[in-house]
Subunit: 242 residues, 2 copies
């Protein structure tokens, strides 16, 4: 008879180990980034694994037999945030033999970027919270390692591709954008050069609207031209999707 074991807040079918039974579990783990109050945040849930009691873990689940990997990620993101069509990208697969205490589980890590204000978290339902990425020390499983890899990936990737915009609302000031870059990359940037660089891409649409409720001269609000970007990204920025 088969036994069920809890895997990262979900269920994985496990079988007694035998020479004939090469079962290896496959899961996905989603590193969902957000940005708020000048901090990069990641969405985590309390682990309910006994061996990782009170540790935080990424949002993950097993991949179902009839489900594509991307579908599994979409399902998890949808379940936890209420959002469809979220930007996501595969980052790396982690599979150390002992990474999961209940058996051999290989996990495919994905990175997602969402706007914190646009979600509908069911925080009451699970112990689901946004955490400052820079203040996370320990996590369940090897999730700290996965988070670090995704953070590093994000830092690298957003220097060549305008990914970071997905963390902002549809309308944003150049100040918002620069603060985002400065905080995620952890370096001060020159305002004039930053503006020049972004404008030179020709992908910012001036909405004509100004900020309001700021105690100083209001800045213009822009939108990102995703349509134009979609048609040009393979030229200027190499559309690397590996």
């Amino acid at each position: 008879m088969k036994t069920k074991q809890v895997l990262n807040n979900s269920l994985i079918a496990k079988e007694p180990v035998s020479a004939d039974n090469f079962t290896v579990g496959v899961s996905v783990d989603c590193v969902i980034f957000g940005f708020e109050a000048c901090k990069l945040k990641v969405l985590l849930i309390k682990s309910d694994m006994p061996s990782y009691k009170d540790r935080w873990s990424l949002l993950g689940d097993i991949v179902k037999p009839g489900e594509d990997i991307d579908e599994a990620v979409s399902r998890i993101v949808k379940n936890r945030t209420g959002l469809n069509d979220v930007y996501m990208e595969q980052v790396r697969t982690f599979g150390k033999v002992n990474r999961h205490p209940e058996g051999r589980v290989i996990t495919i890590a994905y990175c997602s970027l969402i706007n914190i204000r646009h979600n509908e978290l069911k925080i009451y339902d699970n112990e689901l919270h946004w955490h400052d990425v820079n203040e996370i020390k320990e996590m369940a499983f090897d999730h700290k390692e996965i988070l670090d890899a995704c953070y590093y990936w994000l830092q690298y990737r957003m220097q060549e591709h305008p990914l970071g915009l997905r963390l902002l609302g549809t309308e944003f000031s150049l100040r918002d954008l620069q603060l985002l870059y400065e905080n995620i990359l952890d370096e001060k940037m020159d305002r004039r050069n930053f503006r020049k660089k972004f404008f030179s891409m020709g992908l910012l649409i001036d909405t004509g609207i100004l900020e309001s409720n700021v105690p100083h001269r209001p800045g213009k609000l822009y939108r990102f031209d995703y349509e134009k970007y979609g048609s040009m990204k393979r030229k200027k920025w190499l559309g690397i999707d590996f």
Copy 2:
């Protein structure tokens, strides 16, 4: 009773599908690149799956329960080429539901770079051959897609990191190096600028030896300073290992 099915020239344990049995197979597939006669080559084997009779496939195998993913890759590379300590890097995981005709198999693709002259292929043993990457049309499973992803990955990656050198012997002329880059990236380069760029890295060691048996002025042979590179790569070239 469990049944065994051939998976990509090896064995995977499969079980009758039931609600309790969420078995998903996990394999690795190795894209082993070589370079010879000014062509980028990839090492392929004849598929012995009935549904892919006579198609070529990548070198792959299931990941064993007690084996790390990297170990599985090393094992496969060692088995097929006789080489230890080969350069390899994880590229991407492929897991479409129907990518394997015998069941759900998720595969983690790795890219390896070896020197064709330094291997000990057991070509008699299996139908194992080097193929011109640019002449491959159809392959078994989704292996063409995997190969394309790895080829693209290689092209992109070798523009920022001196990866290509792994495809050459320990001693090489700048001409060899330039032909390698020109052929893999499919673009002509200026000889003077190419030399300048490589020398400016400070990673080429002049062996003092000259080419022989060339019908023209012989060029100098160089070695790559892997030691120096190992200690500096996180500075100049960002040691991205995602």
